[in-house]
Structure formats: structure tokens, C-alpha cells
Symmetry: C2
Subunit: 153 residues, 2 copies
Amino acid sequence: MQYLLKYSETMNHEAIFKDRLRAAGERFTTPRLGIFRLLYRQGPLSMPKLIDRAGSEGIDSVTVYRTVELFRRLDFIQEVGLGRQRLLELSDDYEAHHHHLVCGQCGRIIDFDSAAIEAELQRVSRAQGFQLRTHQLEATGLCRQCAATAATA
Amino acid sequence: MQYLLKYSETMNHEAIFKDRLRAAGERFTTPRLGIFRLLYRQGPLSMPKLIDRAGSEGIDSVTVYRTVELFRRLDFIQEVGLGRQRLLELSDDYEAHHHHLVCGQCGRIIDFDSAAIEAELQRVSRAQGFQLRTHQLEATGLCRQCAATAATA
DNA sequence: AATGATATGAAAATAGTTTGCACATGCAGT
DNA sequence: ACTGCATGTGCAAACTATTTTCATATCATT
Ligand SMILES: [Zn+2]
Ligand SMILES: [Zn+2]
Ligand SMILES: [Zn+2]
Ligand SMILES: [Zn+2]
């Protein structure tokens, strides 16, 4: 079986990916790199979409399941639950930490980050004796455009 | 078919539930009340668990799927994505608004709320022209007990 | 109580996920 | 670079979860 991967111009994050994989005693394989690239390039993806994209690169769905499980175990990815669907996204080590405002009308996703929220979460965790590792914050509502449309309608 | 529901001492939230259902032009039925009660009493439940509990009250799994779909549509419930699993929880109208610290070791869930986070989220939304409706924040890490165990191990 | 509209349960159909196994591949040691 | 072995991969099949279909039961209204 031949994989259809092309080598990208920037090797940086992929080198980090490889190192982290090896450091965990896991093998660096072509399908794993392929799935990593999809997540890196295509942003948050649902499982069905990821399986579909991977499929068109010759990667079997079973391998996607197993790789996602591996990535999750190694904290390479995190799952964000937007409404009813769960999306997979590279964790903060690869993607700058941020949160989401999701428009329930058009599906648009606005990224944001807030130092105030981060600090407050740290404070709350400390107060509870909780050793914070990761977190996600998602808000749903209407984006500027859809809110305007809804107002005139 | 006989339902095994017993009437609870506090009728308050159930009356509200009934009213909200009727106001939306939906029927108030025994299975719907049963599922509402399960969620009210048993806190956040995964779909399999909810189906199981409902099953022991004589409610079919298909009805659970349809009812959850209805409750979601009417904003009676919200889905929180704790790690890999999705849990169903009554929305803030029934349950006081709060967020979760989830221990990745023992699964313990610590509820918390923070006025500072709420205010900041409002501010960010306003700045983006985003009309906020709901939001969820979940953090993962180690609870006090598990952190202590991990430190000594 | 009778009526009409809708919800429900049971079965069947689909879709999503996991498992078992033969073969392919990554990688450590030569 | 070549070899050997441990592990990853794809395929098929098992299994589980979810949706659809339809006859019957239940709800709200008259
Ligand atoms: Zn929008
Ligand atoms: Zn954050
Ligand atoms: Zn714990
Ligand atoms: Zn909040």
C-alpha cells in the first residue's frame, strides 16, 4: 500500500511530533504522521471527517481510531464538545491555547483567549487542591452577522 | 405497560418542567417525566447509563433517544464533554450554573462557579459582537487525593 | 367518553467502533 | 545497508450504538 503524503515545507512541528512520539517509546509511522498533518492543517475535525480525510490518503478507519486513542493518551490532542458533536484538535503544545465561540446558526467558530480567564481558573484550581492539566471552554450563541439577521427578521 | 415511577415529595421543578413542555406545544408524558427525573436526581449521565436507568423503569431506549433530542431542542439539557465521554445534564434553568474540574485518575467531578469567569466571558462576547447563549468550561487534571498519591508514588 | 393528533415500543435497518489475525513496517543492532 | 523482531496496519467480522418504520397506546381537547 502506497501513502499519498507529500512533504511539507515547514518541518518544525513535525520534528517535534516525531520526538515526542519517540520519547514516549512509540513508533513514528507514516499513517500517524498523516493523521497528525490532517489535524494540524485542517483544524478541529469530527471523527467522521477525520476518518474520511484519512481514508483519501489511504489510511484505514481502524488505524484512525487507534491513532486517535494513542494521541489522546499522549496528550497530543484534546476533544472539544461543540454542541452535539465532538471535535478533535491538536493540544496546546502544537496549537496556541484558545477557546471557542460557536455560532449556533451558521456554525462559524471564533477563537479567543483571555488571560483573565486563565488566571481565574488557576486560582479556582489551587483553591480546590486540583492539579490542573488541560481545560476547554466553549460558548454557543449567535455571531455578529447572524445576530443582525435575526434582529431584522 | 406499567411505569414504575413514584411521586417525589418536591413537585416544584417538575411543575416547571411540565409548564415549559406545554408552553413549547409538547406533550407531558410519563416517559418524559421519568427521564427528566433521572437527570434531575442522578446528575450528569452518559447516554448508555441513562438508557440503562430508563430501561429499568420500563422506558425503551428509542424513547430515550427521542426524548434527549427533544430536551436538547428545548434547551432543557446540555451536553458536557468530559474527556472522551459525553454526559447529559439538566441545563442552568434547572441546575444552578456551574463548571467542572474532572480528575483524570479517579473520575471525581468537582463543581465550581466563578463570577470572574462569567463576567470575562460576557466581556469577550460583547467585544466580538457575539450574542452569548450558553457555555461550558471543563478542566481536567488531578484531584487533591490523586495528586497526593501521584506525588508519593 | 369520543376524537384526532402525537408519542411509544418493538423490530429492522444503518452507522459507528472494536477485535482477531495475517502481513507489512519501523527501528535497534549488526 | 541488512537482518530480526516487536509492533503497527489493513481487512473482515463481531459487536454496539443510533435511526427508521410502523402498529398500537396515550395525551389533550371536545
Ligand atoms: Zn453565525
Ligand atoms: Zn483557557
Ligand atoms: Zn482523583
Ligand atoms: Zn459559566
